[in-house]
Amino acid sequence: MEKSGIRIEDLHLSFGETTVLAGINMEILPGEFFAFLGPSGSGKSTLLRAIAGFGPAPRGRILIGDRDIADLPPWKRNVGMVFQSYALWPHLSVRQNVAFGLEERRLPKREIDSKVDAALELVGLLQLADRMPAQLSGGQQQRVALARTIAIEPQVLLLDEPLSNLDAALRVQMRRELLALQRKLGLTTIFVTHDQEEANTTSDRMAVLDGGVIQQIGTPQELYDTPANGFVAGFLGTANVLKGQVSDGHFLTIGGNRLPLACPRTGADRIVLRPQNVTLGPAGGEGIVGTVSHREFLGSSIRYLVDTADGQIIVDTLHSAGQTGQETGATVSLRVDSLNAPLLV
């Protein structure tokens, strides 16, 4: 299978007054597993559908390899898409569903049969080839949808929230299978999700979208550790964003706390503190003083909401058996590992 990258240049789209995509530029490398992450309404699905050729036509260029596909109808793009609802045709059997795209390509019957078998084999459903879609479980339907898309050997694979209709346990299993399959085929893949854990665990790189604008592109770790802005910081994991300014190798919060920095960035006015990087101690010690307003027992950890002069700060402390931790209402002191905390300009 030929590996092609995707390049998107200056893609704009509006519905009447509403801007849905505002100047999208990105490059997805050949063979990459790439995630579009964002809340609903961020434009991530619209962008995916634009690549597949659905929905209103945007302005701008979409290149797969060297081919600009922006003006092609969906059926000429050779882009495989797996739909959120799977979109299996209920009047066709599993085999007929998978054979569909190959038949449209007017392949010889024998070739179709072998390719269908191969695709079904790949997803482990060969024995169910003659069932009707209604007779399959959700996970099986998902695999048929995948097999149907892979069978046409698309240049890129688009997955539109493919796991959202599965229950939690199956979802974890399926995402691993999906990744394994993608690695095996080496298919350039775009995966749309609103679930950061899904994006983190599967993708090589991801783009975070909000309001039709790409907020940041990078590996999951890059985005987590060095978010470009408050939105990315907040969307990828829980973040405490404290306002203030950089001064003398420290971040001086507006609440009057001084947090040491390893590489102070001039002009930064916010600092991102992850809850696990804050330690909660009894009152009186060094650190930010506050009062526990709420606590949640999460199993592996306990989450405290602490009211401070810098606003509410979320603190996660590891839980080990027998510990009781702090009660609501207790005055506590927060010690912050701020040396490598991201700063926002």
């Binding site: 050729g53 209103p56 302005r59 059926w75 739909f83 045709w89 009047h91 149907r148």
Partner: protein, 579 residues
């Protein structure tokens, strides 16, 4: 629909499928078809209403005359009254039936389903004849009442007779639409109401019925318009103080160039369009039922023994009423002489013999005409539904409006319009005059029945998730291939339902065909029945022909129903629709 077309994308403007020249072309062709065979012919007729009969100049004088004439004002009031009362009685019949089928697990559901269809397949002419023989002043029932109890009930006299016959004939429109709406209501709606302390009839009135309102209104509007425009029933019952019969009498009278007939036609069409529009306005934003996907309908429960008896009682009573014209027809068809007696003097098979030896061409003509009309209807219906629901074609809604407007056009008006418009047009291949060409009958039937097929196709297409089409396209299927391999097969049930409704109602249609039949060898069944019924010895044979019409239509319906059921079972709980 071409897939080799390489479009330039119009930037900025929002069109769903800017590349589809094929769809645009299809839409244009359909628009031309509807213009040529519906709008223009109707215009041909009603524009006479605006002409001075003597000078041919444009005038509104005729409308002034209309409103200055007591008879016409009374006719208008009578038509309105009869239509409204027919809606009321049709509702009284349909509501319990719809309620029973949708709320309870009930063995008689199949009976009710067929109830929803049987009345529509009665040729209009014979229905009223049979009803008169059973319920008329000296009909079987009144003769028996008079003999044993010494009184008679004037079922069939005057406007009441019209209301009686019309509500029995048209209540299925309400039954079908209301049941469909009720079935679409999400079960959770009902559960929420119960959870908040509402139950029983009160809940039905406050929650269930309002949710089913759009379906009910659609059915009620249809009944209203049908009764308002209907000609055959009042004429057969010799009621002429209504608008449609007045129009007919004035247009078809000998030597009369009275423009009033055309004025009335115009008013009929305008009022019907108005009624449709009002019902649409009223329904706008209230179409809750289709918003709720799936849900499996209302929770059904078992009936207690007493309720079962009651339910069967109601159903059997309605069934007896609904089947009475068919029963009367059977008696006529197998009876020898039936005169001033509760039952015919004797029974014979002779009438069927007459029909089979003399009239097989009527049967074939009917099958060909109604069949072709229904095929045209489902093709047009599917195309229009696709264009309206799936394309961004400018003015696509107008295709829907135009096709639906056929509901508001009385058959006679269409028939006269065709005569006006197509007479003198010579067809190639020796087919002769267009206005007497049998193909025109098919076109007339197709146009008249298109709204039924269109509704069915629309509903079917709405059930097909868009992603099923997109999946096909992303796998390399062109638009036309997607339509052929995915959309149409998934619409099968709805398309078949549309086919059946069109076929069944076209098979018994008379009002437009009576104007268009060029020669008796081209005549369909309903016309044959009409001919037979014009002579004393032909009454039995006409009835026998009527029975054949009912049997043909019933068989067709049954077969399609079987196919639909099979199709539905095969892909029960289809994926792609969210649960």
């Amino acid at each position: 629909m071409s897939d080799s077309f390489q479009p330039t994308r119009p930037s900025g403007r929002f069109t769903l499928f800017p590349r589809l020249s094929g769809v645009a072309l299809t839409g244009l062709l359909i628009a031309i078809f509807l213009m040529a065979f519906l709008i223009l012919p109707v215009m041909q007729v009603i524009y006479v209403a605006f002409l001075d009969a003597r000078t041919g100049a444009l005038t509104l004088q005729n409308f002034q005359d209309f409103f200055n004439t007591n008879l016409f004002r009374e006719s208008f009031v009578n038509s309105f009254y009869v239509s409204a009362m027919s809606v009321v009685f049709a509702t009284i019949i349909a509501l319990p039936l719809a309620y029973i089928t949708t709320r309870f697990t009930f063995a008689g559901a199949a009976v009710i389903q067929s109830l929803g269809f049987i009345p529509l397949i009665m040729p209009p002419f014979v229905g009223a004849v049979a009803m008169t023989l059973l319920f008329g002043r000296n009909g079987s029932l009144n003769l028996l009442l008079d003999q044993y109890f010494g009184f008679k009930i004037p079922f069939m006299e005057g406007l009441n007779g019209v209301i009686f016959v019309q509500s029995l004939h048209y209540f299925p429109f309400i039954l079908i639409n209301l049941s469909a709406s009720l079935r679409n209501i999400d079960r959770s709606m009902e559960e929420a109401a119960q959870n908040l302390g509402s139950s029983g009839l009160r809940m039905f009135r406050r929650i269930v019925f309002p949710l089913a309102m759009p379906g009910y209104l659609a059915g009620a509007a249809l009944v209203f318009i049908k009764v308002f425009d209907d000609l055959g029933t009042p004429l057969l019952l010799n009621v002429n103080n209504m608008l449609a019969p007045q129009a007919y009498l004035r247009i078809t009278g000998v030597g009369i160039n009275d423009p009033m007939g055309y004025v009335i036609s115009f008013i009929l069409v305008a009022f019907s369009v108005f009624a449709l529009w009002v019902s649409l306005l009223f329904m706008r934003g209230k179409d809750y039922a289709t918003v709720q996907k799936g849900g499996g309908g209302l929770a059904k429960r078992d009936l207690s023994q007493r309720e079962k008896v009651l339910a069967w009682g109601v159903i059997l009573f309605i069934l007896a009423l609904v089947l009475s014209p068919h029963f009367g027809l059977l008696l006529l068809a197998f009876g020898t002489i039936w005169s001033f007696s509760p039952l015919p003097d004797g029974f014979t098979l002779q009438h069927f013999g007459t029909v089979f030896t003399q009239s097989s061409q009527y049967i074939w003509n009917t099958i060909i005409y109604a069949g072709s009309a229904a095929v045209i209807d489902v093709i047009l219906g599917t195309a229009i539904a696709y264009i309206v629901l799936r394309s961004g074609l400018i003015g696509r809604k107008w295709l829907d409006y135009m096709a639906t407007a056929a509901l508001a056009v009385p058959g006679v008006v269409l028939g006269i319009g065709y005569l006006r418009m197509f007479h003198g047009v010579e067809l190639p291949f020796g087919l002769g005059q267009m206005s007497s060409f049998w193909g025109l009958i098919i076109v007339a039937l197709a146009v008249r029945r298109l709204p039924y097929a269109l509704r069915a196709c629309m509903a079917a297409l709405q059930q097909v998730a868009l992603s099923l089409e997109e999946a096909a396209e992303s796998l390399g299927a062109t638009k036309s291939s997607t339509i052929r391999r995915i959309v149409v097969p998934l619409m099968t049930g709805g398309i078949l339902a549309g086919f059946v409704t069109s076929f069944a109602t076209a098979a018994v249609e008379l009002s437009a065909t009576i104007m268009l039949v060029g020669r008796s060898s081209d005549a369909p069944l309903a016309y044959g029945i009409y001919l037979f019924m014009q002579s004393p010895s032909g009454r039995g044979a006409g009835a026998a022909l009527g029975i054949l019409a009912v049997v043909i239509v019933a068989l067709g319906t049954y077969l399609s129903q079987r196919i639909i059921e099979k199709d539905r079972n095969r892909r029960a709980a289809a994926p792609g629709t969210d649960h």
